[in-house]
Homo-oligomer: 373 residues x 2
């Protein structure tokens, strides 16, 4: 079920129904510009991750500004993006299961499509799915460069799998996917630099192994919002895939600059608009946005624009906020929360209410909300 | 956007697309029967909480088995339930905002409807919304009996608000809502008994204060899956509203019986079916169900039926599981996860795949998924 949008174009922000997911267009555009500006002179292509926004409208804006395509994580997400007009999608994930692979092969006839693999059995299954369809799928080997999740070991094991891919009709070995997800939220620049330096070494080992097999990685991709400048400067990555940079969130906001201050490259553009539904004590305000309106996996949201206010805890439909003054956050007032973690929060909403100043400028469907198949 | 269901009736469970939300019908029916059996002889009405399942089909089954109605938390949730055929809904929450109140008044002409209040301004706004519509809404005073979230203080403050409600045309004071949410997951029976004993004392104080104002609470409601036997035995609560009992979850499974063993009143009926998408090391299996497929706010899911397997961490679309043997959870196999917290997990899914044994018996729409307005 998709609920009606909580806002209409032209509506004052204060009339938007809550909870609502808001996008501050000025901050969003600042973030798009900042990514480009900070990459000026670097020889890297930008392929933003659409798992953060799940919104074809944003994907198209990113591509209009020079992105070569987008990444996503699921076949159904790729379908929603292609349905929305996106022409080049990398499913930066392993896809398993005959049904999903058949859909992937079908989609590859409608858009340029690439996908990852980290096991020969998965490659064989993908080749089987593609056979006879006339589709062609580009495959990258996922290499574990320190994240400890999916991926082959760097070096020879990755090259062996690449050779396996290269030998399969309908598949084309395209390169390596070396995303160090664990490095994105390391708090200090020194920690992030160390993690990416190690990843770069492992990428180099893998490129050398590929060369021994007579193979070349046309694409070396990875990087997220926390580390993309490091990969871009590495000389080995030629594509980067930050996602959260368009929005930011409270958790990314805890990363630090070299001088110990919070990172300030990007601005917070994503908010959950909530209403104060109960004001039971002088220092407690309860809002209508709980666990079903924002994800607390990476910590609680921050309260925007209310000095001294702290989001204490979320229950299913309630958010309990401690306020500094009995006059803060009166009953029925509205408040903007900065989500703890943008990606799973966006996935709770069908609509993104885009505003500038205090006026709703557009309402975009989050077409891939719930697209986890 | 609502995605197609991941299963068809009659399909073997192993062919269901993943991630999928599964309901084991045998365990579900056991739980329905168990609630009734454990309440035999108690003078309490059952009004299960539909915020857990968000599914009119389940609400109707509960009412067919004797529930007097259901609770929910949001106006849009109530709308979805009434659209689905439910005739008696308590919105067990404060509702704020003219738009929401107008919808509530409209809904009160289609079903028996009650709602909570904890502030005279909210009561006035509700009375304004009802005026001239011909609707009648029953209002309960929410009393904070220890949860520390919404609600008036017990005793005189609650009675003063009740008198305020009773004086408003179109509103009818119906009783008090005294839910001790904080007690539900206290681990030992002694802790839960102590918390509910305190809540009962505060309810008694409130009933006495109401009497002084010449008012009577026809309904005294509260209780959840963790404590409902205590409220049912209290002699003051006459309605109870457990929700999670139909499903259970890993967090409720950590509550203890008096002998120190985990609670075993209800069975786990709710699972997230996931597929092993990567098997990068002998002891690591990665499944396709991460933060967008289950909520980790109350801890990680448990892995059902795989001895020695531990769910280590969820990222957006991945779940990393440590397995005891290299032969456990092979690539492309499926596994059932017991969600850490059922309510926000259910809210991520559009479909509930109901099965018995190894066969899909029905697929129910989770009609109020995302209904947080």
């Amino acid at each position: 079920m998709t609920l009606p949008a909580p806002a209409r174009v032209g509506m004052p922000l204060d009339e938007v129904d809550t909870p609502a997911l808001l996008l501050d267009l000025d901050a969003f555009e600042h973030n798009l510009e900042t990514l480009e500006r900070t990459l000026a002179g670097r020889q890297v292509r930008i392929r933003p991750h659409a798992k953060s926004h799940k919104c074809p409208r944003i994907a198209l804006i990113q591509m209009q500004r020079g992105a070569v395509g987008v990444c996503c994580q699921k076949v159904s997400e790729a379908e929603a993006l292609v349905d929305g007009g996106v022409t080049d999608v990398m499913v930066s994930n392993e896809i398993v299961g005959a049904g999903k692979l058949a859909r992937l092969a079908a989609l590859a006839k409608r858009a340029r499509l690439s996908v990852l693999a980290d096991h020969p059995d998965a490659v064989d299954a993908l080749a089987t799915a593609v056979r006879g369809t006339g589709a062609s799928i580009e495959v990258l080997v996922e290499v574990d460069v320190g994240a400890g999740r999916c991926g082959t070991l760097p070096g020879e094991p990755a090259a062996v799998l690449a050779a396996h891919i290269a030998g399969k009709p309908g598949l084309r070995f395209r390169g390596i996917h070396a995303y160090q997800g664990g490095a994105q939220h390391l708090r200090t620049p020194a920690e992030r630099e160390s993690a990416i330096a190690s990843a770069v070494d492992q990428v180099k080992d893998t490129l050398a192994a590929l060369k021994r097999h007579g193979l070349e990685a046309e694409i070396v991709t990875g990087a997220g919002t926390g580390t993309y400048l490091l990969e871009a400067a590495s000389g080995v990555y030629n594509e980067i895939q930050p996602g959260s940079y368009v929005f930011m969130d409270a958790d990314y906001g805890r990363n630090l600059e070299a001088d110990g201050t919070p990172v300030h490259t990007f601005r917070h553009s994503l908010f959950v608009l909530a209403t104060v539904m109960s004001r039971p004590t002088p220092n407690r305000a309860v809002v209508d946005a709980g666990l079903k309106a924002h994800s607390v996996d990476s910590g609680n949201p921050s309260v925007a624009g209310v000095p001294g206010a702290t989001f204490l805890r979320a229950s299913d439909e309630h958010g309990t906020i401690q306020v500094a003054s009995p006059f803060d956050l009166p009953l029925a007032s509205k408040v903007k929360l900065i989500p703890g973690h943008c990606d799973p929060t966006v996935n709770l909403y069908d609509w993104l209410v885009c505003y500038r100043g205090s006026r709703v400028e557009d309402v975009w469907p989050i077409a891939a909300r719930g697209a986890f198949y």
